[in-house]
């Protein structure tokens, strides 16, 4: 009997063509993708690049200034110049441009594009052309408004992503602390980041264990039931985990107030970098008015 089972084909004849992934497979893949993203970010943060060598406080202040300059610029050429600067910083910091394009720019283009699209038609101005059949006017002012929105968001997002990719998360948090962001806020952010991975791993284990016991595809109702049950189990586990973490904090002397150790030392090149960021931001503010 065992022999006859082992001789049975492992692939069902009907499943030879590439079948659509089920809910569990998609979830497992998404969870693995998130973990892989985090690993990639940590690898980039460890690379020997320009941004990685700068004091995190300088990076936070400098890139934040550039984001504000981008958001307030009223000149397309200035916004494009800031985008070119972000691109140059990415190259000098060994951030793969292909990854930026697929993970950031395309996503932002679709998301912001869907918001900006109506502006092309509804902004009053000189009609350049009309949409066939619908006769909607596409105005020069509408295109300009959409372009401004798109380029601003693409540039600001790229600068923010560069900060997160080129700085270990714990240093971003410490830099926020130095910049007087309330300690409770910083600690909650840190613990959230820390335990996202524990819960992601738990969720991945749960779905993989379910996947290993499944044969065939689940129908829609069963998939929804499974998703709801998994969310419930994960919530229960996270509540238990949070209660245990609180006990572990108490056991080591926590009494409601959090203290942190800030240990940055700025080097001359950090001051130079800060000066550079400030000059570029002032230039953008002035010429982008």
């Amino acid at each position: 009997m065992l022999q006859s089972t082992s001789e049975a084909p492992l692939v069902h004849p009907k499943s030879k063509r590439k079948r659509r992934q089920g809910f569990i497979e998609r979830t497992v893949r998404s969870l693995a993708d998130v973990l892989e993203q985090a690993l990639f970010a940590e690898e980039v943060a460890k690379a020997d690049g320009l941004l990685q060598s700068i004091d995190p406080r300088v990076k936070v202040v400098g890139l934040l200034l550039l984001v504000v300059a981008t958001a307030s610029a009223h000149s397309l050429s200035i916004i494009l110049a800031l985008f070119a600067l972000a691109l140059a910083l990415a190259l000098l910091s060994h951030v793969p441009i292909r990854r930026l394009a697929t993970r950031v720019w395309i996503g932002v283009l679709f998301f912001t594009g869907s918001i900006a699209l109506p502006a092309i038609f509804i902004t009053p101005g000189v009609a350049l052309v009309h949409v066939p059949l619908l006769h909607w006017p596409i105005t020069a002012q509408g295109i300009k408004a959409a372009l401004y929105l798109l380029t601003r968001v693409e540039t600001a997002t790229t600068l923010s992503v560069l900060l997160v990719l080129c700085t270990p998360w714990n240093q971003v948090l410490k830099a926020l602390r130095v910049l007087r962001v309330p300690v409770v806020f910083v600690v909650i952010l840190g613990m959230t980041y820390r335990y996202i991975f524990v819960l992601l791993q738990t969720a991945a284990d749960m779905f993989e264990s379910r996947q290993s016991r499944l044969v065939g595809r689940l129908d829609g109702q069963e998939q929804r039931r499974l998703a709801a049950a998994s969310v419930g189990v994960l919530l229960g586990k996270s509540l238990q985990l949070s209660s245990d973490i609180y006990l572990a904090m108490l056991a080591r002397g926590y009494r409601g107030e959090v203290y942190t150790l800030d240990d940055f030392k700025a080097q001359p090149r950090d001051w130079l970098a800060l000066g550079g960021f400030v000059i570029v931001a002032l230039f953008a503010f002035w010429f982008g008015r």
Partner: protein, 271 residues
């Protein structure tokens, strides 16, 4: 100065005021002793450890720690709480519970920071502790990037930086590979030599002889027996009754099938 690290009298504890976790538990632990609390899953071991560390408080009964009564009211007092937390440390079974800081360095610095040590002293002590546990190379690593053995090492370092007099360990060798288990056992043996008190919960009988001079056996929240490891581990009837070993039947080297007491975890065969 009291000669006892712990003195428990008639301790009762219920979960949600219904399920009995500990019933009428009384025992004492001398200073400098190495005690193993044995029991199957759900026997009340972890609850007991949390009561010893002042994280849970018994509904009835009295507990004295290092000569002073330990109550919820006492722990409200900041000075008492700081002194107690510095002298008594607990290592949780699941290191992920204990490693909640962004990096290993921050994790080890957490305790001293709460004790408001001067920052220069904290940095110095953290570096020393990292070197002592041979984890300096991990100091900037996030805890989720560590292996099980490394996490256990960091968890130990994070409580021992305070140089406590008493160490409570919940299932210290659970889910560790043999090398990491051996590291933990060697550490416990060495640390106890400096006159510190160690209370360990476990259901792995193979390690008991190396980590304890005295054993307490729990079942369903009750203290069933206590004594020297050799006496306790030699009593198959007691171990079987408390679900620490079981009898099953299998063949040995072609001698036919016969039954004998057996523990799967840790490969202990007390026969």
């Amino acid at each position: 100065m009291s000669e006892l690290a712990f003195d428990l009298q008639n301790i009762f504890y219920h979960y949600n005021s219904e399920v009995a976790a500990l019933s009428d538990v009384s025992f004492s632990v001398a200073r400098g002793a190495r005690v193993a609390i044995l029991g199957a899953n759900g026997s009340g071991k972890s609850t007991l450890l949390r009561i010893l560390d002042g994280l849970y408080f018994p509904e009835r009964g009295q507990i004295n720690v290092l000569g002073a009564p330990l109550t919820e009211e006492q722990l409200q007092d900041e000075e008492f709480a700081f002194r107690f937390r510095q002298r008594v440390a607990l290592v949780f079974q699941n290191p992920d519970v204990q490693l909640f800081n962004p990096t290993v360095f921050d994790e080890i610095a957490f305790g001293p920071l709460q004790m408001r040590w001067p920052k220069a002293q904290i940095r110095e002590r953290v570096e020393e502790t990292l070197a002592l546990f041979e984890i300096t190379h991990l100091k900037n690593r996030s805890p989720h990037r560590l292996s099980g053995g490394e996490k256990k090492r960091v968890a130990l370092a994070s409580v021992l930086i305070l140089d406590p007099e008493v160490l409570l360990m919940d299932e210290p060798t659970a889910a560790l590979d043999p090398k990491s288990q051996s590291m933990v056992i060697d550490f416990l043996a060495g640390w106890a030599g400096s006159g510190k008190t160690i209370v360990t919960t476990t259901h792995d009988l193979s390690t008991v002889g190396e980590i304890a001079d005295h054993c307490l056996i729990f079942q369903n929240g009750q203290l069933m027996a206590q004594g020297a490891p050799a006496t306790i581990l030699g009593d198959n009837g007691l171990l079987e009754r408390t679900n620490l070993i079981h009898v099953h039947r299998h063949a040995h080297d072609g001698q036919g099938i016969h039954s004998h007491p057996h523990q799967h975890i840790g490969h202990a065969h007390p026969h």
